[in-house]
Amino acid sequence: MPKRKLHPLPAAAFQILLSLVGEDLHGYGIMRQVAAQTDGRMRLGPGTLYSSIQTLLEGKFIEEVDVREDANLGQERRRYYRLTVAGRKLARSEAERLAGLLRVARTKKVLRGEYV
């Protein structure tokens, strides 16, 4: 049975890692944060969201912290996720890879602007 792959890192997994930088979030929180940081272009559905979360958990790039209520969203208890050190490293290496790509794009005049 093939294992889930994180190499290359899927866009959804990368966005989830980014959304968890700085704060712990529950599923819906992650979804909203991802939508905000992509200007609404990426709205993660439950299937994609939780299968990505499962993959990241298996790789120990994120971890479950606790189960509690979100004061803004009523009485329901929600599972919160937190970025691990490995997760932060993974996000950084992906960002660097993208930055490298961006540099190539600029030297080839595909994209204008400053070097990153």
Binding site: G27, G45, T48
Partner: protein, 460 residues
Amino acid sequence: MSEKIYAWLLRLYPSRFRETYGDEALQLFRDRARDERGFFPQLRLWSDLIGDLANSLPGEYLHIQPGVVGASAQPRFAGIPSFFFVREELPRPGALLFGCMMSLLTLTAIWGSLNSAGNYRAVRRLASRQSPGPSTSTQQPLPQLRPMDAAATMPAVTENGKLDTAEKQRVINGAINNLKRHYVYPDAAQKTAESLLVHEMNGDDDPITDGAAFARLLTSQMRDASDDMHLEVVYSEAPLPEHPSGPTAEDLERYRQAMEQGNCTFEKVEILPHNIGYLKLNSFPDPSVCEATARAAMNRLNDVDAIIFDLRDNRGGEPDMVMLMAAYLFDHPEYMYNPRENTTERSWTRSPVPGNRLADKPAFLLTSRSTASGAEHFSYDLKMLKRATLVGETTAGAAHSGVWHRIDEHFGMGITETKPINPFSKTDWAIVGVEPDVTVKAADALKTAQKLAVRRLQKR
């Protein structure tokens, strides 16, 4: 309501995913549904969900891994296999129901296909009910059953399928009685009967113990004595019914449906280059069902300059349809010889057909070794009348014009009881078939006929 729909959709995911994240997925749905109100946001929500389902579902099933719930308690050593227990899941009630439905559907489909195969046999029997095909036990329509003879009550075959002398004697006596009683030529009947007895006394029949071989031997003895190719004895392994019933209303309805579905076996009605009409007709179906189809086909070809009838796959059918089709090729009533029927007014075509323009157009018939019975009736007469050019192979030679008489449970015979006038020759197509005017392989017949037609049209 919409939450219920989504909960139902979630059931499409593997059980492990549902157990771990099912509640959260549903919770996320509730959150979004609460926050995104209004027609367009709801529309966007559902399009997101459907897209998400399509994206993530295959992945979930691809990565499904059974959880390990137990392992061997023994320590593991290199090279020694150890055993793990994977978690077993009870199928969901829905899955069980689905399985039941699929099994039922499959069984119904198998039953249906078996049943329709049965119908096919019925249709075959029906289609040949006036023109029996090769004399096998499944194709013995011949409804004109005559009173049985004394021998009819005695089985002629022993348990192991071998014939003994007494049984052979009974079959021969039955055949002789039938000949004397029913054969249309009394002198020949006497001569044939004597010949059968002489053969028996000479011990010619002794070495034979097989039913089919015995039937063939008697057939050849009768044909030698009478010079009549329509006399035959037939052996049937399956018991022959004492009073074969005619087709039932249900049989007729099935026949009608089969004919309607198959366009009455008018497989192709086309106009080929040089304005040559081409009709591929695979039987001569019952006009009471197929007259309209036949007339429509002929009307479509009414303006062609030459016509080709493709009878290579035609194994016969109803004499009435033979006469109906032939009527288009004449501008006056024409006598068509049919060894099965006494000469009556039905022996003349009902020509001219109003509005028909084919009466003086060159006609070609394509024949093969499979062209049989009614198709040979059509071919033989049109050839003898020099109305059509036959292209292809010598036909099957299936006249089977005798009237059926049951001798006993396994033997029956065909006896000529009609005396139609054959104005063309002493013999017809029985056994020998109809020879084509131009002999080519059946596969090349169409091409050859087209060339001949073009040449004929250029000469005009």
